[in-house]
Symmetry: C2
Subunit: 335 residues, 2 copies
Amino acid sequence: MPATIREVARKADVSVATVSRVLNGSDSVRPATREHVLETAQALQYIPNETARSLSQKQTRTVGVLLPDMHGQFFAQVIQGIEEQAQAQNYHVLVSSSHSEEEEARTMIRAMLGRVDGLVIMWPKSRVPFLSETIPKGLPTILLNAPAVEGASFALNFDNRRGARNVVRHLIEHGHRRIAMLAGASENHDARERLAGYRSALEEADLAADDDYVIGGDFTRESGYEAARRVLALSPSPTALFAANDSMAIGALRGLQEEDVRVPDDLALAGFDDIPTARFMMPGLTTAHVPMRRLGERAFEHLLAVLSGEAPDDGGAETLATELIRRTSCGCPPS
Amino acid sequence: MPATIREVARKADVSVATVSRVLNGSDSVRPATREHVLETAQALQYIPNETARSLSQKQTRTVGVLLPDMHGQFFAQVIQGIEEQAQAQNYHVLVSSSHSEEEEARTMIRAMLGRVDGLVIMWPKSRVPFLSETIPKGLPTILLNAPAVEGASFALNFDNRRGARNVVRHLIEHGHRRIAMLAGASENHDARERLAGYRSALEEADLAADDDYVIGGDFTRESGYEAARRVLALSPSPTALFAANDSMAIGALRGLQEEDVRVPDDLALAGFDDIPTARFMMPGLTTAHVPMRRLGERAFEHLLAVLSGEAPDDGGAETLATELIRRTSCGCPPS
DNA sequence: CTGTTAGCGCGTTCAC
DNA sequence: GTGAACGCGCTAACAG
């Protein structure tokens, strides 16, 4: 239905090569010719067939993005970070969300093969086994929030351990000595790192790290809500609670308030991520800010770099710093 | 780098046509031949080049999705709805978020042209002028949350007006007679409809609709937070506040609580959307549930229908019902 | 500067 | 059943 380059060429009385030249801005074409071609292209409402271009240029100018199912707020921010950079470079973004199941992820990756020039995969699970088996050698791949780099071109992580340690340190500075932790799923890489950060802060302050004080959760608000009760059952009672992410902290806050526990007076609380709502909780949630959008941006930037041969393809890594955000749930005065 | 169909054919000692046949499942091929081809394809790690397939089949099996910048849960949910359906039908999703600027949207649409078989565009602004000028005739387009259907194949909306009316009615049932509204931007279609619903509920109950009681916002938490002060300055004081979306309601709740206003005792509060956090606010936020994910699913379903000729391409419309969710911010007892 | 031509990788008639 | 050959729309040498 739409006009092809050939029709434009015929109508403008030039060759397809010339049309191609003027449309791709490049080469040398006589200004008069150029203008004439441009006009007839306009008149014919000519739109280049991107599929054909991709085929002949052997590049799709598209990156595939695979994200886990959860991470509601993250989803948006990461993609927007990627998308913004991509857009600026005339690249496109093909998304697909696996449901955190290995087999499904495999399927999705296979489906994207041949449609993308590179991949960005967020895979917070501990096992990252499928990469080398599923992704063809030579397809640049950026791994997000994943424990290992094997088979990937590059890995991007937050500084979870240090961030968590800073949060817990801050709680300690407030005078707390019995600090419980609401942990994430043990097979989640971020969750493990944050737990490790918690432990190292405790150790560094010569505080006992009682395993009973580590309560299991799964990063959902619901699990945080349910954990509140278990925290209150702890003996001796902790005076502070560090949740491995804000969603759980928000769930826990709700659960605590239902039990008339005052935060931070009866129990100080801190989270991780600094999701947008954290600031609007009452009290405001102290947390570690995680640059989600930046993660997406860096992922694309680096992908583009290896795509254009400016960066090696053999597994570098980078860590993005987090920042302690003091609000009032930890006991800090309102600013 | 990857193997082509030709190599498979040569290695298997058959023609490319045969390879193509077995790979596309169809036609009649001798079982022995089929198996042999399958094996060598496997051995060569053959992966069909999707770009080439698209070119020869004149279809990309890809849908483009254009969403406004407004971050938040919506983004994720709508895309996931679309993506899930697409995945099931072996389609792909190309995303791109405009920044709510017409010109930018145009650019993004143009960039996707020739790469997609259809478009899903969310455009809550009142003016939807660019469609017919920018989108080639014949490219199926589903419009989301938009006021008009001109030039689109189909339009999908929430029942904002009815939903808002129900929320306000509920507030009235609680005995409130002075109900203020925290409205969204006036150029936003959803916001206008919700305002209209508010007004009709008031009218229906013979309550005065004082314009002073309508406070302007922009759907962000921040605008809700700032609006809280203005609500408190109203005279006579309203006894209930209806926010046009949950984000603003959450911002307002925070602002009110900072002023020691008790919700719902001093001021009842209700929102709209039922975002995941609404339930975890303290008090729980009464709101209208909006099936965001379903919106995405329906969008793809219908797009596929027109793509396969099962549905007309000439501008039908559908409205998705919302549901009143009673929590405690309106004065309802905890369940 | 510009036109001709050969692919890009695959689906698909149309003969055999 | 199977193979040869053409075409999808465009880019990229290679000639002029």
